[in-house]
């Protein structure tokens, strides 16, 4: 028996998928980019950053977690949705200490790239200037929580891909933060520079030491093309 085909529309464009696929998955296949931050291919999506929110039959839903159903009407590229996303990104910027000017992730940073894609030139909310921790104890990895956006990609990658549980969330609400193996220092963990978790961070929080700025301006991931272009090109 042939597999059931589900048809939805995204911004009026008919898109087909199969049962169990999410809106984001079918959008990607159809070359429609939905901005995202906490989503990373290979990990279980959890919809926590809310950047991929789309209107589904008039209701906001996270596209990385919402399975498709026949006849769904999805709005992605609307002013309302775009504004919601911009507000989220704005808040992420002011809640941390994101100094792109001297951050080695600049040009390769997903937060910066999504902000540029959405046309954010400066945050509209006041900067919070929080005190955040730095952990430089690991010989090969530098952890800078000033730039952490609590996407949980490191928690999932370490646990589900590397099998190590190096990172975990502690505290709640505004106090929520990434912690290292029950408050030990990074050097006390079994984290290795070859672990997949090191490449999982969308911002400049988990960094390989001593390689910053080795890629010249012009050759960084988002120097020439906006984030999402690879999806739009198919």
């Amino acid at each position: 028996m042939s597999e059931q085909i589900i048809t939805i529309t995204i911004d009026g464009q008919e898109v087909k998928g199969t049962p169990g696929q999410t809106i984001m998955e079918v959008a990607d296949s159809a070359g429609v980019y939905i901005p995202r931050l906490c989503f990373l291919k290979g990990l279980t999506p959890h919809g926590s950053c809310r950047v991929c929110v789309v209107n589904v039959n008039g209701r906001p839903q996270t596209s990385c977690t919402q399975p498709i159903a026949n006849g769904m009407v999805v709005e992605n590229d609307t002013e309302e949705i775009k504004q919601l996303r911009k507000d989220i990104i704005d808040m992420l910027f002011v809640e941390g200490n994101h100094y792109c000017q001297f951050c080695e992730k600049s040009g390769n940073c997903e937060l910066q790239a999504v902000a540029y894609r959405l046309g954010i030139t400066a945050p509209k909310y006041p900067y919070q200037f929080p005190n955040k921790e730095i952990d430089a104890t690991h010989p090969d990895i530098f952890l800078d929580l000033n730039r952490c956006i609590l996407c949980a990609r490191c928690i999932q990658t370490s646990r589900d891909v590397d099998g190590k549980t190096v990172f975990e969330f502690v505290n709640r609400g505004p106090e929520k933060k990434i912690s290292v193996n029950a408050d030990a220092k990074l050097s006390d963990t079994n984290l290795d520079v070859t672990d997949k978790v090191v490449d999982s961070c969308p911002v400049g929080s988990i960094l390989k030491k001593r390689v910053g700025f080795a890629v010249p301006i012009g050759k960084r991931i988002y120097d020439k093309e906006a984030i999402g272009s690879e999806i739009e090109k198919g």
Binding site: Q101, F102, E104, F142, K209, R210, G212, F213, P216
Partner: protein
């Protein structure tokens, strides 16, 4: 303030990089009792880079300045070369950095001469401020103004080709560079080189002719005898990127020579005064009273034995002949020497663009790790010192930045005092006379933001107080 005295405040000083103010204290006869240049910015770079990883420092500290960030970028990179044991750079890396630096020296020097100073030189120090500005220059001397813009653009293009961006790039990394110069980049820069050479020579002539035609006024203006200091190459040549320290006294005798920059604290000390955020460095063996010195283009021409590019060397010889080879102390001669250096930078750019090492692919070296490091470089405004300590976890523990303008602090105060005494004593104070003070400060091309490690732009406020501290006159210009 004692009785029967007046205080004049010039705040901020305009057409300089950054924010400072001048206060002049007059007695009942309007004689100058005291004149001071106060640096009223505070930035705190040395403190907030503590804890940051060392490889971030060259990109972070260049944010001190938008005019010569390359100086801080390269000085920090040179320092971090030593942290990673990579101070013996590959030819490609060293030449790429040098090219970047010469591009910067050119753009910074022409910006200062054509945009910041030319209004004073072309219209006169006390000309109507409504025309004594860059717009006035564009209206009356359009060709000169365009040359200034185009030469600066050329320097900026070089910076972009070597560091990725015209301002605040990332070219230099610990132990080397992150790119070479492509053939396309090289050819694009070679295209305009002949024009730059011609304009460079022309700029030296403008500065020289101005000095010689107005010699009686220029020679004593804010002028005094001082020591001079700069880096020099092993063979005594001018070297803007690297070398060892030489200091000379007013007669040209060497106070110290070929001093390893790692040992600078054995030769230089810094004094703190309660009326300025900027420190006052001096030569340790002579003491704070007489041990202060000047840096920058005038000092570099005075200290070096020769310049290793023919056109600039010809100009240096002509300049030094004025004083029979002795150090030239004319403060306004900073402009002439600045343009000689701009010409030198163009010649060096020419040399480098014809060097195939720039297309090499061996970009980075590392070696034995160190914890403490000093690096120096001749920035457009003078000797720049970066000193860091990095812990075993790769974090900066200590930073001390002695920037060019700080090195010139006492000298700028001496020039302010000299001009105040010569021009402001016993006469009615006018805007034009107050501009004389600013002209003397501008000669040094000070970067006050860098020197205190503020941002923003403020109007010039000149306040005149009577002996009771009552405001009796106030002039403001935007």
């Amino acid at each position: 303030m004692s009785e029967n005295m007046k205080r004049i405040v010039i705040e901020p000083v305009t057409r300089v990089e950054g924010h400072g103010k001048v206060s002049i204290l007059l007695d009942e006869q309007n004689k100058v009792k005291q004149a001071r240049l106060h640096i009223v910015e505070f930035r705190g770079f040395e403190k907030f880079i503590q804890g940051r990883p060392y490889w971030e420092v060259p990109v972070l500290v260049q944010r001190l300045c938008g005019i010569c960030p390359v100086s801080h970028h390269l000085a920090a990179a040179k320092a971090m070369d030593r942290i990673v044991g990579g101070e013996n750079l590959t030819p490609t890396a060293e030449k790429m950095r040098r090219l970047c630096h010469y591009g910067q020296v050119l753009q910074s020097h022409v910006l200062h001469f054509f945009h910041l100073c030319s209004p004073d030189l072309l219209f006169g120090f006390d000309a109507d401020p409504a025309i004594r500005n860059i717009i006035g220059v564009i209206n009356k001397f359009p060709e000169l103004a365009v040359q200034g813009v185009m030469m600066r653009k050329y320097g900026q293009e070089i910076i972009k080709a070597t560091a990725g961006k015209k301002i605040h790039g990332t070219g230099a990394i610990p132990g080397g560079v992150n790119k070479n110069l492509s053939i396309e980049e090289r050819d694009s820069l070679l295209k305009d080189l002949d024009q730059m050479m011609e304009w460079g020579k022309g700029a030296v002539k403008v500065a020289k002719d101005y000095t010689m035609e107005n010699f009686d006024m220029v020679a004593p203006f804010g002028t005094f005898d001082s020591n001079h200091m700069s880096l020099i190459r092993e063979d005594g040549a001018m070297d803007l990127y690297d070398g060892k320290l030489r200091a000379i006294d007013p007669e040209g005798n060497k106070i110290f020579d070929h001093v390893d920059v790692q040992k600078y604290t054995d030769y230089l000390l810094e004094e703190v005064k309660d009326w300025s955020y900027m420190k006052f460095p001096f030569i340790k063996s002579i003491g704070p009273e007489k041990g202060w010195y000047r840096v920058g283009p005038l000092s570099r021409i005075n200290t070096c034995d020769f310049i290793d590019t023919p056109e600039a060397e010809k100009e240096r010889k002509e300049f030094m002949a004025l004083t029979d080879g002795k150090p030239n102390q004319i403060t306004l001669a900073y402009h002439w020497t600045r343009m000689i250096e701009a010409l030198h930078a163009i010649e060096k750019i020419n040399e480098l663009l014809h060097d195939s090492d720039l297309q090499g692919t061996d970009l980075v070296v590392t070696g034995k790790r160190r914890e403490e490091t000093v690096a120096m470089l001749e920035a457009p405004r003078g000797t720049l010192i970066h000193h860091y300590r990095v812990n075993k976890d790769d974090q900066v523990e200590m930073a001390n930045l002695i920037v060019s303008t700080t090195n010139n602090n006492t000298a700028m105060n001496a020039s302010v005092t000299k001009v105040a005494e010569d021009h402001l004593s016993g006469v009615e104070i006018t805007e034009g006379l107050l501009n004389h003070i600013e002209v003397a400060i501008r000669a040094y091309d000070p970067c006050l933001s860098c020197a205190t490690h503020a941002m923003g732009q403020m109007p010039l406020i000149i306040s005149l107080f009577d002996h009771e501290g009552k405001l009796i006159d106030k002039k403001t210009k935007e």
